[in-house]
């Protein structure tokens, strides 16, 4: 019996699932996306646009479905689920990557010591109740000691000894300690996050505190000499003077001397403002008196000459009097 006819008729019933393209299609199964990089056929596009768009889409989707249906599947209550590979197209994220949490003090210690901590379960087995109960919180196991109906009382206990209350206080203390440690960890993490700026301010703060402390210690009647010394308090030390080495290289000596000469020429840049004002005053006086060298006090001389009226009045007078004294006139203009 020849079955080839039957087979052929069976095959002809089904349309082909093969897609033939000149340029291979680019599928991204993870994003259920297929890209057809071939150039658009202008003739068929112009002839019947909608039919052309639909046929290209069909070919592409057939290709994508072939890839999807050949994926490994896992059974589920709804039906088989195809396991998708991770997508190949890179799309931008909506939010930046999560930052790793800074380790707590205990975690750091454990890592340094090589302690591998296992997570404690939230639930704990209660033999009396024959059930898993929470370790802490509502109906927590850590309250058993307070709520038990019978307490052991030590022989030397006070008359008002309340074991239940004591257990409660101890538990509250543990909770408070944990909270305190948590806050410290948070603060440490916060500090670590801004390390670059924090170190600068921290150093400044330390220096300020030291300076304030030194000032207060010196600010007593005996300038700190007869004050009561606290335990572990160190002797206050001033700034130690430092001297340059006597022998220097020729270059270093030369440059240092040149810098000194330059300072003399310009007026010391590091000098106090008072000195600067004084020097400025001297300069202007010597300029005004034509090199008299500050022997005459200009301000007093003006006051004397104008009879207490001031430089402006003197100038007016000298203009009216057609310049009786050249020297006074010049001064008046200033």
């Amino acid at each position: 019996m020849d079955v080839s006819d039957i087979l052929a008729s069976q095959i002809s019933k089904h349309k082909s699932i093969l897609v033939e393209k000149d340029v291979p299609l680019d599928t991204d199964v993870g994003f259920l996306t297929v890209t057809d990089p071939s150039v658009v056929d202008k003739e068929s596009y112009d002839h019947d646009r909608e039919a052309y768009l639909q046929s290209t889409a069909r070919d592409g989707i057939q290709h994508l479905l072939a890839a999807l249906f050949s994926l490994p599947t896992l059974p589920s209550p709804e039906g088989p689920l195809a396991q998708l590979p991770p997508p190949t197209t890179q799309l931008p994220r909506a939010k930046p990557l999560p930052k790793p949490k800074p380790p707590t003090k205990w975690q750091r210690f454990a890592r340094a010591k090589g302690i591998s901590s296992q997570r404690r379960d939230k639930k704990i087995w209660d033999d009396e109740r024959q059930a898993w109960v929470p370790r802490w919180g509502w109906r927590g196991k850590n309250r058993d000691e307070e709520t038990q109906w019978l307490h052991e009382v030590p022989a030397n206990a006070d008359a008002d000894h309340d074991p239940s209350k004591e257990a409660r206080v101890a538990r509250k203390e543990r909770t408070a300690k944990n909270e305190r440690q948590r806050l410290q960890n948070v603060a440490r993490a916060q500090q670590g996050r801004t390390t670059a700026t924090a170190t600068g301010t921290q150093v400044d703060r330390k220096r300020d505190i030291n300076r304030t402390l030194a000032t207060t210690r010196m600010s007593t009647a005996s300038m700190g000499k007869f004050d009561r010394v606290l335990d572990g308090e160190k002797k206050l030390r001033g700034v130690k003077r430092k001297f340059d080495p006597i022998e220097k290289s020729v270059d270093a000596e030369k440059s240092a001397n040149l810098a000194l000469i330059k300072q003399i020429g310009n007026g010391a840049p590091g000098g106090s403002s008072l000195k600067k004002v004084k020097r400025d005053g001297l300069d202007s006086e010597s300029g005004g008196n034509g090199g008299a060298g500050g022997v005459v006090n200009v301000r007093k001389a003006v006051r004397f000459a104008s009879g207490g009226q001031g430089a402006a009045a003197l100038a007016r007078k000298s203009v009216v009097g057609s310049g009786s004294d050249g020297r006074q006139k010049r001064r008046g203009k200033r």
């Binding site: 069976q10 889409a57 249906f69 890179q90 799309l91 994220r93 939010k95």
Partner: protein, 342 residues
């Protein structure tokens, strides 16, 4: 900027934690914003896109004075407030009729955007077919060489993929794939170089966006034959203004999480060398062995050849050979030989 709120109760704390950055991100929420004047066409386009995007869509149905290319502050505010990262803005003006702007955000800041003009629009209602259920993922089909070469179209493809299918999923129910969004670029009017044509949007070809429903037919094999049925919406879009992403922001947005060790072992990320799966599905590896040093080959052990503890050094110095120290040792046998000869 919104003030940073400290959660006062557990519920708000959970809500805030859900908004924190995650390694594998949630699907993007899209906000559909109506501009100062939207018009009938753009209004219905947004409605239909939103129907496809549900349940990850929020509608801003009131008029909003928003010009994304001039000032993005209100977009950033909305993104922060709603935890959304894509906007679709509809605005129709005399200069740019029926405009649809897709805006993508990163970290609450504007990343990139593209303005599209709706040229023709046929609603889903015009096709008498069943519509996709909310939450079903579409299959995407892009057809043009420009999606790989032209910067504008690369951006458009990226935006559309993010809009419709940006979520990374592990598994999918194949029978639930019931609709297709096909994006095809019309043939080029002239020669469009890949780099040029960036400035004059007028010369860019039209983009056809079509929605199809799928029909899976038996093919006698495991893979079914697929037939498409027009389902809508069908849009013809013109490319208008755009704003590419700032390179630094883009780089930050493209940063990937470090691969887990098990994933690397599975062969993700780095290419696994010298491993291949053959036709039978067996994993085959190729191992490279260094050249064997035959000098160290262990041959038959005999008592006479055994090196004793004391002798070891002497033997080594002799085998090292030719040293000046050896002279005294060497000369003696030589003399003996001579004597014998004489």
């Amino acid at each position: 900027m919104l003030r940073v709120v400290k959660p006062k109760n557990a519920r708000s704390k959970r809500a805030l934690e859900a908004r924190e950055p995650k390694e594998v991100e949630d699907p993007r929420t899209v906000i559909f914003v109506r501009g100062s004047h939207t018009g009938e066409v753009v209004g219905s386009v947004m409605k239909e896109l939103m129907a496809l995007k549900r349940p990850h869509a929020i509608s801003f149905s009131k008029k909003n004075l928003v010009r994304p290319f001039e000032d993005a502050t209100s977009l950033e505010f909305w993104a922060h407030k709603n935890d959304a990262s894509i906007f679709v803005l509809g605005q129709s003006t005399k200069k740019r009729p029926n405009g649809l702007t897709i805006v993508r955000m990163f970290d609450g800041k504007l990343l990139d955007m593209c303005e599209l003009g709706v040229d023709q629009f046929v609603s889903m209602d015009a096709f008498k077919t069943s519509k996709p259920q909310p939450g079903h993922k579409p299959m995407l089909h892009f057809a043009s060489e420009l999606f790989d070469t032209h910067p504008r179209f690369i951006q458009l493809k990226s935006l559309l993929m993010d809009l419709f299918n940006g979520e990374v999923i592990e598994s999918i129910y194949l029978a639930g794939l019931e609709h297709v969004i096909s994006v095809t670029v019309a043939p080029l009017p002239g020669q469009l170089a890949s780099a040029s044509g960036d400035q004059d949007s007028g010369s860019l070809p039209i983009v056809h966006v079509r929605g199809y429903g799928t029909k899976l037919l038996a093919s006698g094999q495991r893979i079914p034959r697929v037939e498409l049925v027009p389902m809508g919406p069908s849009l013809d879009l013109l490319l208008r203004r755009h704003q590419p992403a700032d390179p630094e922001l883009w780089k930050a947005a493209m940063r990937r999480p470090k691969l887990k060790k098990q994933d690397v072992e599975k062969g993700l990320g780095k290419k696994r060398k010298n491993l291949e799966v053959d036709e039978m599905g067996d994993l085959r590896g190729r191992v490279h062995v260094a050249k064997q040093d035959l000098g160290k080959l262990q041959t038959r052990k005999m008592k006479g050849l055994k090196v004793r503890a004391g002798e070891e050094e002497e033997e080594e110095s002799e085998s090292g050979g030719g040293g000046e120290n050896d002279e005294s040792n060497d000369t003696r046998p030589m003399k003996r030989k001579k004597e014998k000869g004489v």
